[in-house]
Amino acid sequence: MEETERMEPFLKVEDLTVQYTAGGEVIKAVNKVSFTLSKGETIGLVGETGAGKTTIVKSILRILPDPPAKIKSGTITFKGQELLSLSEHQMRKIRGSQISMIFQDPMTALNPVFTVGEQILEALRLHRKMSKKEAYTKVCEMLEMVGIPAERYGEYPHQFSGGMKQRVVIAMALSCNPALLLADEPTTALDVTIQAQVLHMMNRLKKELGTSVIMITHDLGIVAEVCDRVAVVYAGEIVEMGDKVHLFDHGLHPYTEGLFHSIPSLTGDETRLKPIKGLPPNPADLPKGCKFAPRCPYASEVCREAPVLLREAEPGHFVRCIKKLAADIKTDMTGKKDKGIDIAAAENRPQGSATDFIKRSRAAREVE
């Protein structure tokens, strides 16, 4: 245990800042985002459309369209390698092989003029020294693994349904056994029944292959099902991050609170949904202080004046809110007042309650 604590984390994103330039306006899509991910772990990035979630994962793979997008600052360390300083050539060796991505819309993620087999084969042949025949066998295996009969190798994407296409995309992403999988709302475009199948399959494959996953979603149900930890993203910032169970039970940030209130509860405790009032801020013109302040029921002058830092409310649970932090936990955070927290260090601390929660949730899942 002690050794793993000191080890460099599997993936560490620090101070990532990404901006888009469009018609003279600078759109601040991602602002100083930091988080870590350990091997085999799944983190969920949750937030509204346009919050910058996709930009964060695309930066990791360095496939943002440049121009207009530009990674302004930050580091992304993956297995001890700093990705942002790699040459394009070195980066290409990582894309698709070490890190791969599942896109949001399976209907458009596959090239319509190539057969699905060819498209999976391409990923394999790029990174693995294999004869055509070996690769073909492997592709057939991959297809079977995601539940598509190998005979459909030579069919074109338009001959597949949406759910089947997403399976193809998943097979493609997993073909080289990546250590890290970036899943951008992999089930949003699918029917509910198909969603469950795809999620179930992803869970199974994750366990089998030991892949770490960054899962983008705005569906808290999916978070509950597949994630270990959650990071709530708002206006290009992480506003709250922590263990899934902990966050579900003790969400601190008013935005997280709002997110949870804006989904109908199955237990039927609430008679009315409480939608979050207002709209997300214009990313070209962000508020000076807390970016959620304009919509926040608790906001005061202090919130509007200066940016709020991400602080550790409880071990492993970070929140970017002055009000809630003061109200919920009386512990003073002096000494860390003026700078953000070295998350990596903080996270590697022995985590009493948080690990319990994980254990509990895992146990609960197994019982189910």
């Binding site: 793979l61 496939i63 121009p67 394009e88 290409r92 060796k93 990582i94 894309r95 698709g96 092989s97 791969s100 991505m101 896109f103 949001q104 819309d105 458009t108 993620a109 596959l110 090239n111 319509p112 003029v113 190539f114 391409e122 990923a123 790029l126 990174h127 074109y156 338009h158 001959q159 995309v169 493609m172």
Partner: protein
């Protein structure tokens, strides 16, 4: 697929009938009397009338029309030129290859330069490369082809004496006319290619290819290129067709004995059978080219292929 082709050929018959009717109507209202212009000025009214009767010009419109269609379909006979007394179809078949040569080479030049220019512009959107490529293509689309031809022959034929200014006696004679016509095509194709490519490189599957770790030139030339080709091929096809009909201007400039010069002379001489025959012939070839283009789609895009054969499947199901 075959069913689709047959269906297209079937509709083509009606379109060509329509074209015949249209051109027949246009020529019907053409001022002047071909009989009169064929005879010398001192011919008597009786002589003219006699000739009109003989040429069938006194028959009512629809009688003439049906007569023409029946002859064309049954005997492949497009009539006899008033001027030369030579069979129109014979003359067209003699001259048409020249026009096709010029049009093919011009379109080839246009595609050869236009496609890469468009791709480069799209891939380097809003950079100096894009701007330069688009400036070139803007000059291309704005250039009056026949004037450019004149300028080329002024420079390369009359001043530098590198190339012949007119005539049609070998490959050398093809260069200037084809470049003159081709430049407009370079402009049109590169613009189309650019906008189509810009559309495609924003697609998710292009990002997918990049996310796989594919090298950039393969992302563009393997994944994006084939998808962006369809509108460009349509344009190349229709450009070829229009070139067959528009060749007359370039042919006039360079005195090429093609279908264009034939038709221009025929029009000036009120030689109706020659005009009708030329138009009909070009329309037929044009229609066939566009059919070929549509079939080419099927080889590029499996979705279109599926569409073509779907109809067949559905038909089959009904029977079964």
């Amino acid at each position: 697929m075959i069913r689709y082709i047959l269906k297209r050929l079937f509709t083509m018959i009606f379109v060509l009938l329509g074209v015949t009717l249209l051109i027949f109507t246009i020529m019907w209202y053409c001022p002047g009397d071909p009989a009169r212009s064929l005879l010398s000025d001192d011919a008597t009214e009786e002589q003219i009338e006699e000739l009109r009767e003989e040429m069938g010009l006194n028959e009512p419109f629809f009688v003439q029309f049906f007569d023409y269609v029946v002859k064309a379909v049954v005997h492949h006979d497009l009539g006899e030129s008033y001027q030369t007394k030579i069979d129109v179809s014979t003359e067209i078949i003699q001259r048409f290859p020249n026009t096709v040569k010029v049009a093919t080479l011009a379109v080839f030049i246009a595609a050869l330069f236009g496609i890469p220019l468009g791709v480069i512009a799209a891939v380097n959107q809003s950079t100096w490369k894009d701007n330069t490529a688009m400036a070139v293509s803007l000059v291309g689309v704005s250039m009056p082809g026949f004037w450019f031809g004149l300028m080329l022959s002024l420079l390369f034929a009359l001043k530098l004496r590198w190339l012949p200014a007119s005539g049609f006696a070998g490959p050398k004679y093809l260069i200037l006319p084809c470049v003159a016509i081709g430049i407009g095509g370079v402009g049109m194709i590169s613009r189309q290619m650019r906008s189509s490519m810009l559309e495609v490189i924003r697609q998710d599957y292009v990002v997918t290819a990049r996310a796989k770790g594919q090298v950039e030139w393969k992302v563009i030339y393997v994944h994006a290129f084939r998808n962006s080709l369809i509108p460009v091929i349509t344009q190349i096809g229709s450009m070829f067709g229009h070139q067959l009909g528009g060749a007359m201007v370039a042919e006039t400039v360079f005195s090429i004995p093609g279908l264009g010069t034939y038709m221009v002379n025929a029009i000036k001489a009120r030689d109706y059978p020659a005009v009708r025959g030329s138009v009909l012939y070009v329309a037929l070839v044009f229609a066939l080219v566009m059919l070929a283009v549509d079939l080419l789609y099927a080889f590029i895009d499996p979705r279109i292929k599926a569409q073509y054969s779907n109809k067949k499947k559905r038909g089959g199901k009904k029977i079964g």
